[in-house]
Amino acid sequence: MNRCPGPFPQERPICRECFLVALCVLLAVSSQACPFCGSKTGKEIRASLFGPDLPYNLLVLVSPFLIFAAIVYGIYCGGFSKKRFAKREKTQRL
């Protein structure tokens, strides 16, 4: 009896395989060390992440992106065009 007709004639439910794979992933050692797990490694990761270096690390992470944003804003508003520079110089002279 074909309960679930699909595009492939040999198709069969794969729920059991999916469950086993999910179980293996959840029981794996690496998942026990996730930053929000209650394991010893998880706690150590959290302690280090949210330690005194957090503001500095965040600043380090974000600083190039602030410069990217400034550059793209400059391009969008024509801040780097020759005409704009010439116009600014003319206004400053007046």
């Binding site: 490694t41 380090v60 190039p64 410069i67 990217f68 793209v72 969008y76």
Partner: protein
């Protein structure tokens, strides 16, 4: 005609793509460095796990940059005064990639020293090469944008 919206969109997309090349190729596939690898030697599970979080945050910002580039590109496409030029888009994408390499290289590799291209060598010729590649990409991208 106003090419600036298209160039801004292409530059953002280039910055995003450059970030993904760095993150995917150097951080993950080749594992030459990670975001904070100069501070945290990558020979302990704890340091690797912490670096993975910071690499993830870097990828998140890169993703946001790319997404914002798509929004700007969509807006540029709807403007009647913006010429729809493939050459300008490619040029600005190379420009963006070059800007990524130069800005990220100067700040992270030289000024702050939080990581280097090949971490086990420290500040090496590869960092100079990374910076130079940024300069070449900026030059090539600018040429493409100006070429009519």
């Amino acid at each position: 005609m106003n090419k600036r919206p298209l160039i801004a969109a292409g530059t953002l997309l280039g910055i995003g793509m450059g970030g993904f090349v760095d993150g995917i190729l150097f951080h993950q596939v080749l594992q030459l460095h990670s975001m904070l690898s100069a501070k945290m030697p990558q020979d302990e599970l704890l340091n690797v796990k912490i670096s993975m979080v910071w690499d993830g945050l870097f990828h998140a910002l890169t993703w946001l940059t790319t997404a914002f580039g798509i929004v700007l590109l969509f807006q540029a496409g709807r403007r009647s005064d913006c010429p729809w030029s493939g050459r300008s888009l490619w040029g600005s994408s190379f420009l963006g990639w070059g800007i990524f390499n130069v800005v990220e290289g100067v700040i992270d590799h030289y000024l702050l020293g939080i990581h280097h291209v090949v971490e086990c060598l420290g500040l090496s010729a590869y960092d100079h090469l990374f910076l130079a590649s940024g300069g070449v990409l900026i030059f090539f991208g600018s040429l493409l944008i100006r070429f009519r």
